[in-house]
């Protein structure tokens, strides 16, 4: 197992190198001049020159790249061009926020997706199945930003039930924290619930067709037990794997959700950074999400092995 993980990590290295190249190239390609953005309304030429020098923006691109990679390898991701805050600090302070959002959204998605998937697989072809499908697909089909604003208008403004936006650290006020996160988590989670539901459904359908389900029924087990023990247990293998991979999608979804609900997380950080041409932040954050993504992939594979006795024992 360790060996396997080791190999997977080795494979991740070239991926990370390509990611770093991609990120670097991508933002060099972005139109606009970070210094102009930084220099503010007055655009003092002296200041422009100074900033160019300071952030080595006049160096040849390869030099810039290696300088960045060099310091990144020592754990120094540079400082934000906009606010002077070290990028690592930014990442560290935003990560928990996005993670909280992602986890809560995941809970929403799981809580909706899995039961709905099971029910619609078991009741395949019935009205229940179609209803569950359409509801799940609705989650997927409504643009996040629209749903978000609708919810704010309705729940926060009209009914004044939940705070409209913002973020309160759980350490400060847990209840308020949860209250602020409910809507964003719901918006983000419903999008994922659909795909989770679809996958659960098809995994369940696949499993329900398999011979060992027939065996279980031949033993006289009752439907409930057959479904919840024999079928679900096996269907969980692909679902668990998928759920970890969905974190990537969560992160992407978080970009817009955080934008709408003004949640100071990763998504907002990176979008702002892209628009402000805050190179150091863009590079650092994308690299960090890429590492996260690769880690999630690895986790998915490991989980796959762990929940799958067939593989677990050969480990």
């Amino acid at each position: 197992m360790l060996r396997y993980i080791g190999r997977r990590i080795l494979i991740a290295i070239p991926t990370l190198i390509i990611v770093s190249l991609l990120v670097f190239a991508l933002q060099k390609l972005l139109p606009g001049d970070p210094v102009l953005t930084m220099a503010g309304e007055e655009r003092d030429p002296q200041v422009l020159a100074f900033l160019r020098e300071k952030y080595r923006l006049d160096d040849p691109i390869p030099v810039q790249y290696f300088a960045w990679i060099g310091s990144a390898l020592t754990g120094n991701l540079g400082i934000s061009l906009r606010t002077d805050i070290p990028v690592l600090d930014l990442i560290m302070s935003k990560l928990p926020v996005t993670l909280e959002l992602a986890i809560m959204a995941m809970i929403v998605a799981l809580a909706i997706g899995i039961p709905a998937g099971i029910i619609s697989a078991v009741r395949k072809g019935t009205a229940v199945d179609y209803t569950a499908n359409v509801i799940a697909l609705s989650g997927l089909s409504i643009p996040n930003f629209w749903l978000g604003i609708m919810l704010i208008m309705l729940i926060s403004v009209r009914w004044q039930l939940l705070p409209a936006s913002g973020y309160v650290p759980p350490t400060e006020d847990l209840w308020l924290n949860i209250k602020t996160m409910i809507m964003p988590a719901f918006v983000l989670g419903t999008g994922l619930a659909a795909s989770l539901m679809r996958h659960t459904r098809s995994a369940m359908l696949g499993v329900m067709r398999s011979d060992y389900i027939r065996t279980a029924r031949a033993k006289g087990l009752l439907s409930r037990k057959v479904i919840l023990k024999h079928a679900l247990r096996n269907a969980l293998v692909p679902i668990v794997t998928l759920s970890t991979l969905l974190f990537g999608e969560l992160l992407a979804g978080a970009v817009l959700t955080e934008q709408i609900f003004t949640i100071p997380g990763f998504g907002k950080l990176i979008v702002d950074a892209v628009f402000n041409r805050d190179y150091a932040v863009v590079q650092g954050v994308v690299l960090c999400t890429a590492v996260g993504f690769i880690f999630m992939n690895l986790l998915a594979d490991v989980l796959y092995v762990l929940v799958n006795p067939r593989l677990r024992h050969s480990a």
């Binding site: 027939r214 065996t215 031949a218 006289g220 024999h230 096996n234 799958n308 024992h313």
Partner: protein
């Protein structure tokens, strides 16, 4: 039940025949079982008017080509047919004095794995990969017996010993993937027999196995049957297997039982053209005897299925009547029935027409 009726249906004839052979009433007696699938064209049942019976301690073999309805028949008996699309449209199956087909789902579930058990064809996929073998055997015991999990495990261990699995204590905690096909089929057998069923249905239990392993499994099944006196329905398409284990044989073709009777009668004196063609199609193990006698063509698809004898398009002896009128399951000799207008063939088709 049919016995009170004055008119004798072919099935009743066969019953009398059976009764003449076996002293006690059959454990299971199926009559006129018909199953259809929603997708099939109207009037074409995958299993049509199938009747047979099995007595305690005896083995009934059902043979026939792939798709002829063997599995559907057995699943119908176990109550495991997917409904929809499958639907039992007629028939009765008396088991231990009750008609299986009229029981509620709950009652069927109570019977399943208890008084009647089943072994499936695919040992590789019929065990749940997520649970240990012991767990899967014990589960069935806990379901039907008032025992604790530990007691059930104890019983599972006994069963492993019974099916001759080496190092049973260790195997109890093993997962299915850690075992070979033959081993898994033994587990399946252990699972099926764990509650001492009165009837065991084995659906092609050895088809997926190598010859040497097949021989081991067949021997095992036969021995266990002798020990427990369980009645068995064994489904196969291998005439060799039939010859080795059967007491009674039912030959199925496209959903009909075309011939049935004691194993010797079927092998030594086959009556239905399909049975004869089947025998001619099997290469002999002795020195080569020339070309194989073949059955022409393939089973027609449901929409082209003849109204009468379903073997008509492939039968060398057939004529127009065959295609239009379904021949009765006529008694050739006591207990030996054939569904053919021209049986016995020498008499009715002996001279080249």
């Amino acid at each position: 039940m049919g016995h009170e009726a004055a008119r004798q249906s072919p099935a009743e004839v066969r019953h009398i025949g059976n009764a003449a052979l076996a002293s006690e009433p059959p454990l299971l007696s199926v009559e006129g079982l018909s199953v259809r699938f929603d997708s099939a064209p109207k009037g074409v049942n995958v299993v049509d008017d199938v009747s047979f019976s099995v007595s305690k301690g005896k083995t009934l073999c059902i043979v026939g080509e792939s798709g002829c309805g063997k599995s559907v028949t057995s699943l119908a008996l176990m109550g495991l047919l997917p409904t929809p699309p499958a639907r039992i449209v007629a028939g009765s199956a008396m088991f231990d004095g009750q008609d299986l087909l009229t029981l509620s789902e709950r009652e069927r579930a109570d019977l399943r794995g208890d008084k009647m058990a089943m072994i499936f064809q695919e040992p590789m996929t019929s065990l749940n990969p997520a649970f240990t073998v012991g767990d899967q055997i014990a589960e069935g015991i806990v379901r039907h017996r008032k025992v604790s999990k530990a007691e059930a495990m104890e019983r599972a261990l006994d069963m492993l010993r019974k099916v001759r699995i080496p190092a049973p204590e260790k195997r109890l905690r093993a997962y299915p993937h850690e075992m070979s096909g033959g081993m898994r089929q033994r587990i399946m057998i252990a699972m099926a027999l764990a509650n001492d069923p009165e009837l065991l249905i084995a659906d092609e239990p050895t088809t997926a196995l190598d010859v040497t392993i097949q021989a081991q499994i067949l021997t095992l099944i036969r021995r266990l049957q002798e020990e427990t006196g369980t009645a068995m329905i064994l489904i196969t398409h291998d005439l060799g297997v039939v010859a080795e284990v059967a007491d009674e044989v039912a030959v199925m073709y496209a959903g009909h039982v075309v011939e049935s009777g004691p194993v010797e009668a079927i092998f030594d004196d086959p009556q239905h053209p399909y049975t004869i063609g089947l025998m001619g199609s099997v290469p002999s193990l002795g020195r080569r005897q020339g070309r194989l006698a073949t059955i022409r063509g393939t089973v027609p698809p449901a929409e082209l299925m003849p109204k009468g004898c379903r073997f008509t398009p492939r039968c060398p002896f057939s004529d127009t009547r065959c295609g239009n009128e379904l021949p009765p399951l006529g008694e050739i000799r006591p207990g030996h029935l054939a569904r053919c207008w021209y049986a016995p063939l020498e008499q009715k088709r002996g001279t080249a027409a």
